[in-house]
Subunit: 177 residues, 2 copies
Amino acid sequence: MARLERIGSETRFEGRIVTVREDRFRYPDGSTAEREIVVHPGAVAVVVHDDLHIWLVRQPREPVSEPALLELPAGKLDVEGESPLEAMKRELVEEIGKEADEWRELKRIYTSPGFAQEQVWIYVATGLRDVEHEPDPDERIEIVPWPLHDLDAAIAECTDSKTLIGLLLFARERADG
Amino acid sequence: MARLERIGSETRFEGRIVTVREDRFRYPDGSTAEREIVVHPGAVAVVVHDDLHIWLVRQPREPVSEPALLELPAGKLDVEGESPLEAMKRELVEEIGKEADEWRELKRIYTSPGFAQEQVWIYVATGLRDVEHEPDPDERIEIVPWPLHDLDAAIAECTDSKTLIGLLLFARERADG
């Protein structure tokens, strides 16, 4: 399939996390259009588990009008030169104080490709050990060890897209296996 | 759980689709922080199927550097006074020329609650009939009837969060039923 081509780009807003651009595109049929695009550095998330539990977190999410959301441990790709996997390993220590021996990529998603560039790399990690960590007080994260036999209840409660996708794909693998 | 409270809000950018605000919050422990928030009107998507097929679409998504993405029929909540279900019924006609007799809500998700308000209502619709429609040439949508017995292949190809969640939840219901 012929790709669409970006033929112009104007930065409209630069914030601390997002940038908004007005880009002009040429489509394979020769037509052109302008689109408003939210540029975001991308993110990582992980299904981290042992034989009995998966480690989830609850944290306040300021943009949404609900109490703390149930989510996978996750973080933004905001350190220059760091790969997604390196970022996730760092975040796993910072958020829940664990390192993992076995890592694999589960899925790479776009959270909202109609208006935002944000991509999320979702991993599975196991082979866990505890490590020293000092929780970032600014993150207000509650660690939630969730029984693996009750993934359905986590899926029912969860409303965060990356977390739902990680839990649903992981639950499907376990059902197939 | 005590909710966090918004104690200040400043609009930093108003675009055609998104607004960016800098909001100040007070947390249950009394501390305060500022957060950059992308305001978005929200969206709807639908798993629309008969006994043999699910109707998906492929369309170019300008923010992401990939060819046309495989997605559920979907749309933004951009008509004043229209409910999410009404919006989805209108979009289903506009995008693929179908009406459906049976509708139910499958899940309501936040695509990226760390920085964006966007919420997506995901429905399941069946009992289909064709209706007259004039495709919007600006949307460049290809209609893809996908065999229901091969949902796994759609899930493997798909990278769009709302679509993955709709397909995974729908596939799980079919496996359980």
